[in-house]
Assembly symmetry: C2
Homo-oligomer: 275 residues x 2
């Protein structure tokens, strides 16, 4: 793994071809140093998250929302288990969006998203999201080009509204190479404790790799804003977990969270308990 400049947000000229899935921007250690850094970062992330949760109980309306998008096997599950999973589960609002139900299809595409937004004080995590509606919908022509075209603007407006209401949004595409995906799919096939994670449908989507990459690039260009930026995280290595941990840590640091001051009289309460 080579040393690189730190990860930066994607801009309107973003090109997916510029991101090497095997790179590790901002980190030049090996596997062992990566594991150590992840363990060390977990403690800070957990404390920041607890401060957010505490603030939420004390009237602070802010929240954080991590949006995860990726091709299959890119490591969304690992990020959720090992990065999000290292903070107190009581402060996490995780939702995995699957193919929409009939009820969901009867509404506009943001309807089901709005129902799962994090409450104040919570760290929300979307495993897939409203971006499916401009990715898979374009690749498979599940909606007309005009309808999908309107969705980019609707998404930007929607996210701006969330940010204005106090939600810090961190959008992450985990970017793997098709070669790495093949190896991971084969590893699933070879392991009886992992075969349940394999779906033949994943290979159907894999055969549309180039189309997906085109649509990811377009979606990221159109919807990466200063308030709700996209980060494309190279994900051929477990470095991706460390990168997402750092993005979340930075987002929480930016909220300048302090432990709430008690709104009761500490001495009086002590006296009630020690009669």
């Amino acid at each position: 793994m080579a040393h690189h400049a730190p990860l930066t947000a994607a801009g309107p000229q973003f090109a997916l071809a510029d991101v090497d899935p095997a790179s590790t921007p901002g980190f030049d250690g090996g596997k062992k140093a990566g594991r150590r850094a992840l363990a060390k970062g977990a403690a800070e992330l957990a404390e920041l998250q607890e401060r957010l949760f505490a603030a939420g109980l004390n009237g602070d309306r802010r929240s954080v929302l991590l949006v995860l998008q990726a091709m299959d096997t890119a490591g969304k599950g690992g990020v959720v288990s090992h990065v999000v999973g290292s903070v107190d589960v009581q402060g996490v609002a995780l939702h995995a969006f699957k193919a929409p139900t009939d009820e969901e299809k009867a509404h506009d595409v943001l309807w089901r998203i709005r129902r799962e937004l994090p409450a104040p004080g919570m760290l929300g995590v979307f495993d897939r999201s409203h971006y499916e509606d401009v990715l898979i919908h374009r690749v498979h022509a599940l909606a007309s080009p005009e309808v999908i075209e309107a969705r980019y603007a609707a998404i930007v407006d929607f996210e701006a509204e969330l940010v204005a209401a106090g939600t810090t949004i961190v959008k992450v595409m985990l970017h793997i190479s098709p070669q790495e995906q093949r190896d991971r799919l084969l590893a699933r096939l070879d392991d009886p404790t992992k075969q349940w994670k394999y779906s033949p449908g994943d290979v159907d989507e894999r055969e549309l790799w180039g189309r997906y990459m085109e649509e990811y690039e377009i979606a990221i260009r159109r919807t990466s804003t200063p308030d709700a930026p996209w980060y494309v995280v190279p994900a051929d290595h477990k470095f991706a977990r460390l990168a997402v941990q750092r993005l979340l840590t930075d987002a929480l640091r930016g909220l300048d969270l302090h432990w709430p001051r008690p709104d009761y009289d500490v001495a009086a309460e002590r006296a009630r308990l020690l009669p």
Copy 2:
């Protein structure tokens, strides 16, 4: 800590006075051995939970529901963070029930509970539950005696329905002594990073300790059934975490879960990936 017989489910003659909050039934080690046992048990629990999750994705309708009830500071949060938090957050459906909203009050007391039941394959966790409606409601006379009387039977019927639909229910009361609660409340008051967890209202409830214990005993006697048993876990020590871990592990073992067999042709899929 003395050695005791293992924890058993409460029966219709259950007496809270028979449970010493400082005891550690089924465990005779010290703090260090307890931490080791908890870490060791976490790996088994995590694998069992993953098998449940995998089964759920493969059409198995079963789920597990942990119901946690306790006086403040008894350690519900610690159980959630350190026992439930040791399994993959993707397979956990945690809900903390607060004072009911106006919308919730407009419905019968089980309405909001039904909305949060675990989906197939999930480990559901209720931090407080429908039992608040026969505990705090009796202590504070928030409903008439006749209305509350009817709730015990409604709860037993409701839980029997869940069990018949495939949910394994584990109900836990974390039982601390009032002396231990006082020490824990004082510790919160003394620590600026914990003061947000303290609420003067907790001391108001503390002053009704005897009434709460009476109502817990009645509720447990009336609703501990072979299918949906109550376990009263002594909680003056962190042993409580180990005890709940073991209860969950036993519940999952009882489901006899195996990794799902692939419903696709493994060799054919390998061939698709290796052209």
